[in-house]
Every structure is written in structure tokens, then in C-alpha cells.
């Protein structure tokens, strides 16, 4: 669901290596998921301090949280119904902080740097026949497709609203799938034209 893209800068946060930032992302995910409110507060303070240090403004954070808002509200209401208000609030706060950590990493790390890091991390898998370069690139390509899918979804919903079909899931899902598959074909053709081919 990440929508934040790299925001150029020369802050100390930008200069931290992609490998260290990905390790930080993994460590905070474990700490937030397994820890209680205290761990959450510690991670939130660290992320807020890093965010200020990065000097990238609040836009990447809003870009990442806005599409998640409806899902977070739905999770909160479900948790209130299933558990209680404090439990629901803690879970939603954990998810919001994790989105903020991921947004910070993606806003201060070039995707090409992440790609090279992933290739290095996955390199040992070559021994068992895994093409690390392809796995890393396909991961990045999947991230690249997220805004495209949001765009396709918004265009299809607008078209169906214009036809009075906003309540029909089929009227939204079928054209979305067709357009997403067609765009996938177009990207595959463009990749071939630019010299990227399975090896």
C-alpha cells in the first residue's frame, strides 16, 4: 500500500545505507508487532525524530496514510466489536506507525539502492537456482505498480459512477482486472524493447 516515493535530499537519514534502513524496517516491524505500548512509543519517537532530521516534510507521510485511512477505520471498528476500545486503538496505532516507518524508508532511499541491496541479500539463493536479480527487480516492479493500480481503480470507479453502477462490484472489478492485465502486457513489451529479458 506504500505510495511515498523518494524525496531527494542530503540529510544524514538519506545517507544511511539502504541495507541499514531495510534492517531498521524489519527490526521495528518485529518490535512493534511483538511489543506493547512502550515499544510502540519508543519506535514512534525514533521515527518522528528521523523524519524531522530527514527534512522531507509531511507530504510522504500523508501520501502513505491517506489510502490506508478507510482500512484502519474498518480494523478499528471490527476490533472494538471483537475486543475493546484500548485494544483496537493500540492495534491501529501499531499499523499506522509501521506505515510511517515504511514511508520514511521509501522517501529517503532510492529504489535503485534498494534494488542493489535486495540483489546482494538474495545472492546466496543463486546456489539453489534462484535468479536474485530478477526477484529483486520484480519486487521493485510490484512496488512501482501500486500507484498505477490506484490510478486504474480511481478511473474505473469514476467511469462506473458516471453510468450509475457504483454499487456493482462486478462493474468495477472486471474492467480493473482487464486494464491491469493489459497494462502488465504493455510493461512487459516495453521492458523487452529496453533490453530487459529473462536470462
Amino acid at each position: 500500500m506504500m505510495r511515498a516515493v523518494y524525496t531527494p535530499g542530503d540529510s544524514s537519514v538519506h545517507r544511511v545505507s539502504a541495507a541499514a534502513k531495510l534492517a531498521f524496517l524489519a527490526a521495528t516491524a518485529v518490535a512493534v508487532a511483538a511489543g506493547g505500548p512502550n515499544a510502540l512509543v519508543v519506535v514512534a519517537v525514533i521515527v518522528a525524530a528521523a523524519w524531522v532530521r530527514a527534512g522531507i516534510g509531511a507530504r510522504p507521510l500523508f501520501q502513505s496514510l491517506r489510502p490506508m485511512a478507510a482500512i484502519l477505520i474498518a480494523i478499528f471498528l471490527a476490533q472494538v466489536w471483537l475486543r475493546d476500545v484500548p485494544g483496537a486503538a493500540l492495534l491501529v496505532a501499531k499499523l499506522a506507525v509501521l506505515v510511517a516507518v515504511a514511508a520514511l524508508v521509501s522517501a529517503t532511499t532510492k529504489v535503485s539502492d534498494m534494488l542493489e541491496t535486495l540483489e546482494r541479500v538474495l545472492a546466496p539463493l543463486r546456489r539453489v537456482g534462484v535468479n536474485a536479480e530478477h526477484v529483486a527487480f520484480l519486487t521493485v516492479l510490484a512496488i512501482r505498480f501500486v500507484p498505477a493500480l490506484f490510478r486504474i481503480g480511481a478511473e474505473v470507479r469514476e467511469a462506473q459512477r458516471a453510468r450509475g453502477l457504483e454499487r456493482s462490484p462486478v462493474a468495477a472489478i472486471v474492467p480493473m482486472l482487464i486494464r491491469a492485465l493489459r497494462e502488465g502486457d504493455d510493461v512487459a513489451e516495453a521492458l523487452a524493447a529496453r533490453g530487459w529479458a529473462p536470462r
Binding site: 516515493v5 523518494y6 531527494p8 532510492k110 529504489v111 535503485s112 521493485v140 516492479l141 512496488i143 512501482r144 500507484p147 498505477a148 497494462e183 504493455d186 510493461v187 513489451e189 516495453a190 521492458l191 523487452a192 524493447a193 529496453r194 533490453g195 530487459w196 529479458a197
Partner: protein, 224 residues
Amino acid sequence: MIALDNVKVRYGVRVALTGVSTTLSERRIAIIGDNGSGKSTFARLLNGLIIPTVGRVSVLGLDTARDGAQVRRRVGFVFQNPESQLVMPTVAEDLAFGLKAHGVPAGERAARVEATLQQLGASALRDRACAELSGGEKQLVALAGALVLAPDILICDEPTAMLDLRRARTFMKVLAGLPQQVIVVTHHVDLLAGFERAILLAEGRVVEDGGAADVIARYVAASA
């Protein structure tokens, strides 16, 4: 030079192109015709994205059926929709992606990206997010993505179809200044000033081939 020898392309039972034999050596060539006439198939034959069902396409001495990867190293391609062509989040990363795919060492990539953006007057776009560019800027970056690989030939499939008239004119002016042989598929026949040759396709066949001004004038008159 590109040579097509008795080329036929069939998709299942549908014949998209048939009986095409020609050589393409002029610096500026336009491929025109109605929707469904076979223009995009023709363009994709020229860099081996489509292999002829019958016949042979030779590009700079290379057979597209046998040497597709080598052909694509020498022939750049710009698509109608730049959204499909831009795969990395920022402009500089996207241009460097193509260089990496072609095995250009990491140390050389930044300089080539910078030089290509400068060539197109687009240095200011270097660190911009591709998703946030305007339509004209995206198409310019798609063109830069093809040119950064230093192709000998450039094929453009309806590159101005998604641009307004002002940006379409700007884009065609950029194409006019390129040193490469440029082959453009387009409906915007009014933007083909300076083109030497035009090929008119209809129902998968070449129906007119000659000086651009004459062929375009006859096509426009027939379409009126």
C-alpha cells in the same frame, strides 16, 4: 538500413500485415494509416518485438527472428503510452535501468543519464518522480529512456497521441533534432514537416509509398 522481404504477420486467423517488401534508409520516415491498418505491427517488426509469420526483417544486417536482443540494442522504441515504459520511480533511476539491463557498468550510468537529459533539455527532471510528471514530460522521459542507450535507429509508435497540440509539436521538434534515423507511426500528419518519406497502410497492406508531402496530401484528401 532496414529491409522487409515479403513480410506477413498473422494473429491467429487475422492477418495484420501482408505482402510487405521494402527498404527503409531515409532519415525521417512516417508510417500513416487508419486504425487497424497494421501500423503498430509494422513498427514492432522493426525492432523484433514481433517476428514475421512469413518473410524476413533485417535491421543493420541482423535478422530480427534470430538476433532479436542484438536488434533491440541498436533500435530504440518509444511507445504511445509512456506510463507503460517508465518502470522506476524517479527519472534518473528509470534511465539508468535501461543501461543496467544492457550491462553498462555502474560508474558510467550517471554520466550517460546526465548527458541524455541535457541533450533533451530535461536536466531539471532528473530527480522528479515519474508518477508526478505531466503527460508531455513523461513522453520526453520515455524518449530519453530510449536515447540513453545510444540507438542507431529510433522507432516511435504514436508518440504524440496522448499529448495536446502544443506538447505534440514540442515533442516532434525534439525528434527532428536527433541524429538517428527516426521512423514514426502517427495520426498527426500535420506534424510531419521535414519527413522525407511516408508509407500509407490500409488493411495490412502498403497502399502508398513515396515523398511524405505527396502521400500525406493524398491520404488527407481521401479521408475528407
